[in-house]
Symmetry: C2
Subunit: 151 residues, 2 copies
């Protein structure tokens, strides 16, 4: 079976996830795209940074906001290898991300299509369009390999 | 009517909120307490920092984790002047904050006792004890004054 090739931003997010694994972090990667160009990329780094908020999405959003000199990333896309948690979904909303693409679902910790479903409450002042599944196999395999090696 | 005096950490969080207002930010303040000592304090700063994640809680948690050299703030308390949003509730959970004290409820943006209720899903791996209401009048008056002045 042949498949459509993955879009470049998701390939880039997967590369970030691999870089995270090399750094001893859970392999999750994210990029922010503006007008078709990746303007920020990051991987999970809470251990190496001693920062519980250093998830790939938060780091990519912070870097993109710094690059643009604006707390709002209007019109930007976030591509990430795993369904965001509540913290990251909240950050996505505050940043006014227009479109969210995530690869693998996360029934145990996700808060977009599981659990808190952060975007589905009136208290959420901005919800992005959400597209899930592109790169799911690659993203999930990275996570399985990581946790298997540590068992 | 006489009232019990506010606990020192909430007074300190309110001072942070006032400092935020002086800086042109929404007046919300937070402190992290370990063994009865304030180890980090911050106010909202998304505009001045061009960082959509720069809520008082996130900044205080990040500073405390840096100070301790550990992504987990086991046994620590977070005191904040407003009910945390989904992003901040998620950060509180990731940081393993033991006890959360918030002053004013936030029906429009809160995610602890409103909306996403982040701590009330099985996807939330750690939930703090939550105590609400101490300092509510002071915290709410600060916010009312801020928004009234900008209308």
């Amino acid at each position: 079976m042949s498949r459509w090739p993955l879009p470049e931003p998701m390939k880039c997010a997967l590369d970030q996830a691999r870089a995270g694994e090399s750094a001893g972090e859970v392999p999750i990667g994210a990029v922010v795209v503006k007008d078709g160009v990746v303007i920020a990329a990051a991987h999970n780094a809470p251990r190496t940074r001693s920062d519980p908020t250093a998830h790939a999405e938060v780091l990519a959003i912070r870097a993109a906001a710094q690059a643009l000199g604006n707390e709002r990333l209007d019109g930007c896309e976030l591509w990430v290898t795993l369904e965001p948690c509540a913290m990251c979904a909240g950050a996505i909303s505050h940043a006014r991300i227009a479109r969210l693409y995530y690869a693998a679902p996360d029934p145990k910790g996700g808060a977009v299509d599981h659990g808190a479903r952060v975007f589905q409450h009136e208290q959420c002042l901005h919800a992005p369009e959400v597209y899930a599944g592109m790169g799911e196999d690659e993203a999930a395999e990275l996570l399985r390999g990581f946790f298997k090696a540590r068992r």
